[in-house]
Symmetry: C2
Subunit: 446 residues, 2 copies
């Protein structure tokens, strides 16, 4: 399990304990700011990169730091329609001066947004419960699934991350730095021929069925299969389209629900569909939304069937004070409009395809580039050892920091941390994509 602490450090600023930050090369100003952060945030403080960034502004796919340097952002999926998108900024500015309160009153922007959002979902997904975060969405989804099924058991992928509440951490194996999830959580390997051979869909469904049987054999009952519809923290696994359908069928056949976590792939990122589940020809029982929904304003949601909400309302009800507040809904509405008006799903498709094609061109000269996976503007690039093609987490870490010095921000994913994660704002231009590939090639060719 020590591996996981190291993975964190691949992306994180993690000087040796007791190190003098100034003499370690940060300079006085940056060292002072890092010390301030650590004093306030304490042990849970995490900053990115060997030299943390002091960010002062952002626009489109560009971050600007205090020294005036500009960075191309291939990391941040939250500002999904672009940092500081004028439409979102204008909507928030207007609403915050008008009204911002809970949803136990009738408020036009709340009801307009709820309808506009639900119009993007197929039947029978007709109800929405607003939350503030993807974590809250997945927490509520687990409660709905457990009440509906009578079971507690959940099947997730080996390196899943679904959020940070107590209940959601239990179904997030990647959050455990020591030990692992409780016995009512079972894991399956991510969809990949390395685990399942040529028939990924069949193999994955059989693994899910076996995990469900193991849960039942241990007396836990089965509540839900919960997965990202592009497996994110497992290293960006998207293919083959359709592979989730047999697994969802297996979950339902066993009396459980299929929960699609769209926090990462949702809102057009895959380039061909608004939601990742649509690539698989399956309609989930519960869909959870978060990060990109409000372009940075805290907004999440559970979208589900009315018959799943009704017994939950009888037993508990659900109310979230800030969930679906007018400012959040105004931001959400602007995001939907920006996605359509700016053609961002189409842009994700074409620019994502361009990156994949250029990586394929680059690969013969750069044997460190291994497999490339994903869909639209959500790609994973395995970094491997030149000698034997084995995963190279240290190489990935070196690349992340080398790209940062060339003004390009990127992160890593996967259980070993050797997969570069390309997950930019959806407004990334072809020129910006090219500048990333050019920089990657220059570094790899040394």
């Amino acid at each position: 399990m020590e591996r996981k602490k190291e993975i964190l450090a691949l992306n994180a600023f993690a000087p040796a304990p007791g190190a003098d930050l100034v003499s370690a090369g940060l300079g006085e100003d940056l060292a002072h700011r890092v010390e301030r952060r650590r004093r306030s945030f304490g042990a849970t403080s995490v900053l990115f990169y060997d030299r943390p960034l002091h960010v002062v502004a952002a626009r489109g796919a560009t971050l600007t730091t205090a020294d005036g340097a500009r960075y191309l952002d291939l990391y941040n999926n939250v500002p999904s329609v672009g940092h500081g998108h004028p439409k979102v900024v204008a909507a928030v500015r207007a609403q915050v001066g008008q009204l911002n309160i809970h949803s136990r009153y009738l408020i036009d922007v709340v009801d307009d947004y709820a309808e506009r959002l639900l119009a993007h979902f197929p039947a029978p997904l007709a109800n929405v419960a607003f939350t503030c975060t993807g974590s809250e969405s997945n927490d509520l989804a687990l409660r709905l699934a457990r009440l509906a099924s009578g079971g507690r058991g959940v099947v997730v992928s080996e390196s899943a991350y679904h959020g940070n509440t107590a209940a959601v951490t239990e179904v997030s194996p990647s959050s455990y730095r020591k030990g692992g999830p409780p016995s009512f959580v079972r894991t399956v390997p991510p969809p990949h021929p390395a685990h399942y051979g040529a028939d990924v869909a069949g193999g994955f469904a059989r693994a899910v069925a076996a995990a469900i049987n193991a849960l039942k054999a241990h007396g836990h009952g089965f509540a839900a299969l919960l997965v990202d519809t592009i497996f994110s923290s497992d290293g960006v696994h998207a293919d083959p389209p359709g592979f989730l359908a047999p697994a969802a069928a297996a979950a339902r056949a066993a009396g459980g629900l299929f929960i699609a976590d769209e926090v990462q792939p949702g809102f057009g990122r895959t380039g061909t569909n608004m939601w990742g589940f649509a690539r698989h020809g399956v309609v989930p029982d519960i869909v959870t939304l978060g990060k990109p929904m409000g372009n940075g304003i805290a907004l999440g949601a559970v979208v589900t069937r009315p018959d799943l909400l009704a017994p939950f309302a009888d037993a508990f009800g659900y109310f979230n004070t800030f969930g679906g507040s007018p400012v959040a809904c105004a931001a959400g509405l602007a995001v939907l409009e920006a996605l359509a008006e700016d053609g961002l799903m189409e842009n994700a498709r074409t620019v994502g395809a361009r990156i994949a094609a250029r990586l394929a061109d680059l690969r013969p000269a750069c044997p460190a580039i291994g497999e490339v996976r994903g869909a639209g503007l959500y790609l994973g690039i395995d970094i491997v050892a030149r000698a034997d093609g084995r995963p190279d987490p240290e190489g990935a870490s070196g690349l992340i920091n080398a790209l940062r010095t060339r003004g390009i921000l990127i992160g890593a994913a996967g259980p070993l941390g050797h997969t570069l994660k390309v997950r930019p704002p959806l407004c990334l231009t072809a020129d910006e994509a090219d500048s990333f590939i050019d920089a990657l090639g220059a570094i790899l060719r040394g």
Copy 2:
């Protein structure tokens, strides 16, 4: 347990199943809007009042509806420095156009706000972990307490409400419409002479100690005493100041932590202290913050001791994507400044005292007014039967709807729902307070 469903209905719009909303008197426009809401939100839809409000704007302590009517707001504590406070509005407008991203970079407004917030806490509460909601704050607090203590058991008040995640619902007895909390949660009656006689502090501490012993006797171990520092959902119990200190000592003597939920009383509402715990001369191990922190922008926090965060960081770490985002921190900073510049804590003290004094004057002529409890601008007014002084939830419900027709918004609290809850924005003026008392008197004198 059916009682609780009825309590919900005391405040809520709850027509008979299948009722025709138009002919039930809502009119076509309102009926249409209610139907829209119910179609989108489904069974978890809850609207306030027999005639739901269609709100279009808010400023200070006033809400405006679509028909141009203005309502005095005695209910909403989230816009704590006032609806649409110019300072908060300006701060959000500036920041949302500049930068709004997660906290793994150094960002001035995030680090400034963290320091400014922590400056309001006594040693050893030196670290902050930002969240988006009070629910997330209490969820994290439970995780910290359980890891530190090795126990799972929690002691809360009989009608406590601490939030809506799976873990926090377990410690929120008032959330259960059927059944009750799991066996590792034990409840104690709220601090009141009716339960504890004259020595409320001693009796409450003995009840907490007995609950801890019961937890241990059942093999659960003890993690924490978790209470509002003004007991809110139990019916607004604040006195005597200091009563929490012996209970916190009992919790610590038993190897557990004392978690102060400041979501309701925090940020000056009590009129004499920034935090409710300060009225009790006790420093908690963990403080949880939410609702009023960002005046409507989703923002919460856990403030705690560094030695409690460190082992948690080793085991899990904590990161919250939207937690402490620049827009949220800009709002939070503006709230702290508005509280000081507008003298809102002092206003809470004087206007709260004025309401209490005028209620005392009104009481002889209005026997429906029972006990009045609370501190600052957080008051509970028991509504009782004229004949025998027994709790009168139906009377409270009638008053809430009668006040609404006179342009005054208020809610209810307590296990029976017979306590009017006065919890306005802290900018409530003396004139506004008087208009509430005048209306209440006019209704009660009929």
